[in-house]
């Protein structure tokens, strides 16, 4: 077996039981009392409606899960598709939603325990903590502790628990059917209220359908996720919906409504009536197992979501430290546990259920929107094995029903949800925006379509992009030019108080899988190169992070890496050996360079010496970048700047250059105006210069490296180093360099 097969050891049954185990507790053991009180037999319809809404979203979750089987599940998909702003909402929502749900399950657990253990309430300084809450707190502590020390056996226990539960419920249903009297189901709809309680009750019981999305949080561990993930996700929703509806219908057909309505442990009393003490005992046992397994699975899932959030820098990575002995993400579990205990103390069982439901409904809505975004933008690496049927109707209906159901909650709950979304957005703006490194597919898509879309949409997309500070990326491959590139990139980084990102791209032959290359490749050389770069950056006093990227491509990978690491500026060397020969990659990057979202500097390195910098200009946006670079070099490398303008008329030329220089803060540079042939003028002045900075005057500097235009002849003819500058096409240079 390969390592990958060993790492993915969750079979289809185990995946299914995560979903069923999380869901089956609440719906039948805790909620029938409250639901029947409000809606009578109609509450069975509410369970079916909840199941249908869940199923719509489950389809979207399945497709996203098979396309991206990643740790973190729903959070990961939303962050990936919609960007870190919505990622923050989804991450916090999923995390706190699970904490609310766990607190709810534990309170249900408490209700079951107090039916057979006489536990007194506790009065502490005038505040009474009920017996149910005491048990809930103790139970919460127990499950947090189990997850904190991480006994791997608890996971296997989950499978057994689910099977036992289904067996108990099956026996119960058979007894119910034997005693069923359809007349008791009438009136199906409460005569005094009509169908109006249907949606509010659906909202109340929706906490019963939170489990399926937890399957996706461990998607990376599922064997053959393309097949097994959709089976587990859809299967668990269908099975649980059927169980809920069947059990509730038989209960209501077998006994009087009044026995169930408002009864916290209704199924136990029904079982006592139908089967006797053994039945009651079995149902009691089932209730304990069900609430415990739901809470346990939720705590486990929340640590996966924390990990994924930390990886995207939405929360601190310190949260994700693995315990040296237990091998568990203990901090994340401890903090989640703290929230669970707090919620148990603060809220009653219905509020906990509602809060858990509402936060998950927000996530489900966003999940459906994410699916639509992924389908519309259709990125190359989006290859789901399972596809939602009847697209786009199913995800649109899923999004609408999920969001719309929120409206049927009590006002306080809706306010809580709104406040929560605002909190997550403020969190993003205040904390995560400067740290988050990942840009969403939606943002990229909007920026790419910027010419067709209304300005408002584009500027909205731009303003919520993570900025992560000013980031300068340097692809390093050649030890000889490493120092020069770092000096140049370091100066710009320093000028912008930014971060330098050193990337070493290792070209792996096509026939070698990247995974096996990761294990076999000797990184010593790459490490040395990056280590030297770090030392050089350190000398300049610049923060630097380094990455080694394995790729089947080399030159094109630079552009992907620039996006991945969210570069504002890419500084690259150019020579026969740099990043593969540019001359051979023309077709591939011609296309890429049409819409560069970052500035690019290409250094033809003949020794980096910024003592005398020559900047020819004819105006235009790319020479703005040259001017900015010249200012940086003057400030940080004591460069002497010479500006050169070639005009037809000397007087007009001098006026232009004077004005141009003043506007760009280069008024004290040496100004030279020439007439005649541009190329010859540049070449003759370059003989005295140590560095020539040339702005691309039209789109596609990198393409022109290949095609050999005027600029290219200059580059070859002069003896000094040449720096070619091309500015990004999406933001103004001033905003980017001096922002």
């Amino acid at each position: 077996m390969t390592d990958e097969e060993l790492a993915k050891d969750l079979g289809p049954l185990a995946a299914l039981t995560i979903g069923i185990g999380t869901m089956i507790g609440a719906g039948i053991f805790v909620l029938p009392g409250a639901a029947v009180q409000q809606a009578g037999p109609l509450s069975a319809a509410a369970f079916v409606l909840g199941g249908v809404i869940a199923l719509l979203t489950a389809m979207s979750a399945s497709e996203l899960g098979t396309a991206m089987p990643k740790s973190g599940g729903a959070y990961y998909y939303i962050n990936h598709a919609l960007g870190p702003l919505f990622g923050s909402v989804a991450g916090w929502g999923n995390w706190m939603g699970l904490a609310f749900a766990s607190a709810f399950y534990m309170t249900g657990f408490g209700q079951y325990v107090v039916t057979f253990l006489p536990i007194p309430s506790l009065v502490l300084g005038g505040v009474t903590v009920s017996a149910v809450k005491l048990v809930a707190l103790a139970g919460g502590l127990l499950f947090v502790f189990i997850n904190y020390v991480g006994a791997k056996e608890t996971g296997k226990l989950q499978n057994a628990i689910v099977l036992i539960l289904l067996a108990i419920l099956a026996v119960f249903t058979v007894f119910g059917l034997l005693n069923a009297d359809l007349a008791k189901l009438r009136p199906f709809v409460p005569p005094d209220k009509g169908v109006s309680p249907l949606l509010p009750v659906t909202g109340l019981i929706f906490v019963s359908y939170l489990g399926f999305v937890q399957i996706t949080s461990v998607a990376e561990e599922i064997k053959n996720p393309g097949k097994n993930l959709p089976r587990a996700v859809l299967g668990s929703v269908v099975i649980v919906t059927l169980v809920y509806a069947l059990v509730l219908l038989t209960v209501l057909a077998a006994v009087d409504n009044s026995l169930v309505a408002g009864n916290e442990t209704a199924v136990v009393d029904v079982a006592r009536l139908l089967i006797g003490p053994v039945g009651a005992g079995a149902m009691l046992f089932g209730g304990l197992l069900a609430t415990a397994s739901s809470a346990n699975a939720s705590i486990l899932a929340s640590s996966r979501i924390n990990f994924a959030m930390g990886r995207d820098r939405i929360v601190s990575t310190a949260l994700n430290e693995i315990h040296p002995r237990f091998g568990t993400p203990y901090r994340s579990i401890a903090i989640t546990g703290g929230f669970i205990l707090l919620f148990i103390l603060l809220a009653d069982v219905n509020t906990l259920a509602n809060a858990g439901s509402v936060l998950h409904l927000i996530i489900y809505g966003l999940l459906n929107v994410s699916l639509i975004v992924m389908r519309v933008s259709d990125p190359e690496d989006y290859q789901p094995d399972y596809r939602v049927p009847l697209y786009p109707f199913v995800p649109i209906l899923g999004a609408i029903t999920s969001f719309a159901l929120i409206a049927f909650f009590a006002n306080t709950i809706v306010l809580l949800a709104a406040g929560f979304v605002v909190f997550a957005m403020v969190w993003y703006a205040a904390y995560a925006r400067t740290k988050a490194t990942k840009q969403g597919i939606l943002g990229k898509y909007l920026l790419q379509q910027s010419e067709q879309l209304p300005d408002a949409a584009v500027s909205a997309a731009t303003s919520v992009q993570p900025d992560g500070g000013y980031r300068v990326m340097v692809p390093l491959s050649n030890p000889e030019s490493e120092r020069d590139l770092i000096s140049l990139a370091g100066a710009v980084t320093k000028a912008n108080d930014g971060t330098l990102v050193g990337v070493h791209i290792v070209k792996v032959p096509d026939q070698t899988a990247l995974e096996s290359a990761r294990e076999e490749y000797d990184f010593a050389e790459a490490d040395r190169l990056l280590e030297q770069a770090r030392v050089d950056a350190d000398e300049l006093g610049v923060d630097m992070e380094t990455h080694t990227v394995l790729s089947h491509r080399s030159f094109e990978e630079v552009f992907d890496a620039a996006e991945t690491y969210n570069a504002d500026l890419v500084v690259m060397g150019w020579g026969p050996d740099s990043h593969g020969s540019p001359g051979r990659a023309e077709s591939a990057y011609e296309e890429i360079t049409h819409a560069l979202p970052y500035d690019v500097l290409v250094l033809k390195d003949r020794g980096f010496d910024p003592s005398h910098v020559l900047v020819p200009t004819a105006g235009g946006p790319d020479s703005d970048l040259s001017a900015s670079i010249a200012s940086v070099l003057r400030e940080f490398c004591d460069a002497e700047i010479e500006l050169l303008h070639v005009a037809e008329d000397r007087d007009v030329g001098e006026r232009f250059l004077r004005e141009w220089a003043d506007e760009r803060g280069l008024g004290d540079a040496t100004l030279t105006v020439e007439t005649g042939d541009v190329e010859r003028a540049i070449e003759s002045h370059a003989t005295d210069a140590s560095l020539l900075v040339v702005g691309a005057t039209e789109r596609g500097l990198l393409s022109r490296l290949v095609s050999g235009t005027v600029v290219m002849d200059v580059v070859d003819d002069v003896e000094c180093s040449v720096l070619l500058a091309e500015r990004s096409r999406s933001r103004s240079i001033r905003e980017r360099l001096f922002g």
């Binding site: 390592d3 060993l6 790492a7 993915k8 050891d9 969750l10 079979g11 185990a14 995560i18 990643k70 740790s71 973190g72 997850n147 020390v149 991480g150 006994a151 791997k152 608890t154 996971g155 296997k156 989950q158 499978n159 461990v218 990376e220 561990e221 699975a297 486990l300 640590s303 996966r304 990990f307 990886r311 994700n320 693995i322 040296p324 002995r325 237990f326 091998g327 568990t328 993400p329 294990e519 990184f523 010593a524 490490d527």
Partner: protein
């Protein structure tokens, strides 16, 4: 058949449990391996639940593995020895280490103690016991280089 006995430190296997363990074990063992002119293999085992969700996500555990292999690589560079790294996934950590030792044809399994027996070994299973009882090759327990601070992590 005692024609040739290889020195213990010519090709030992070092199981690394966590970053602190990696620091201590590498700092203690690598100079000895260098002195014996040997080469080292380090193994880290990611414990799998075997058909149930794991205690922590696989990606999360792989990040830890990367970190401790980095520590080992730096230490090996400093000591001037060759290093092989081996990442394994297994439900039984002790078995996986023995298997790794077998496949690498290790001359010994070398580790530093990580504190005394604790009650939670009841939960986690004592890897050390497994190694000492079932190994078909020498098991060397090295006192940490700085034994004042060694031990409990």
């Amino acid at each position: 058949m005692t024609e040739h006995v290889e020195p213990l430190f010519s090709r030992p296997l070092l199981p690394l449990a966590n970053t602190d363990d990696a620091e201590v074990t590498c700092a203690t063992a690598f100079p000895r391996i260098a002195a014996a002119g040997g080469q080292a293999s380090v193994v880290h085992v990611i414990e799998k639940a075997g058909g149930a969700p794991d205690k922590a996500g696989v990606e999360q555990r792989e990040e830890v593995a990367d970190e401790l292999f980095d520590i080992a690589r730096r230490a090996a560079d400093d000591a001037g020895i060759e290093l092989q790294t081996d990442l394994r996934f297994a439900t039984d950590v002790g078995d996986a280490i023995l298997e790794a030792a077998h496949e690498a044809d290790a001359t010994a399994i070398v580790f530093t103690p990580r504190g005394g027996r604790s009650w939670w070994d009841l939960f986690s299973g004592a890897v050390r016991e497994e190694l000492i009882r079932h190994s078909d090759r020498p098991v060397v327990v090295l006192p940490p280089a700085d034994s004042d601070k060694g031990g409990e992590t």
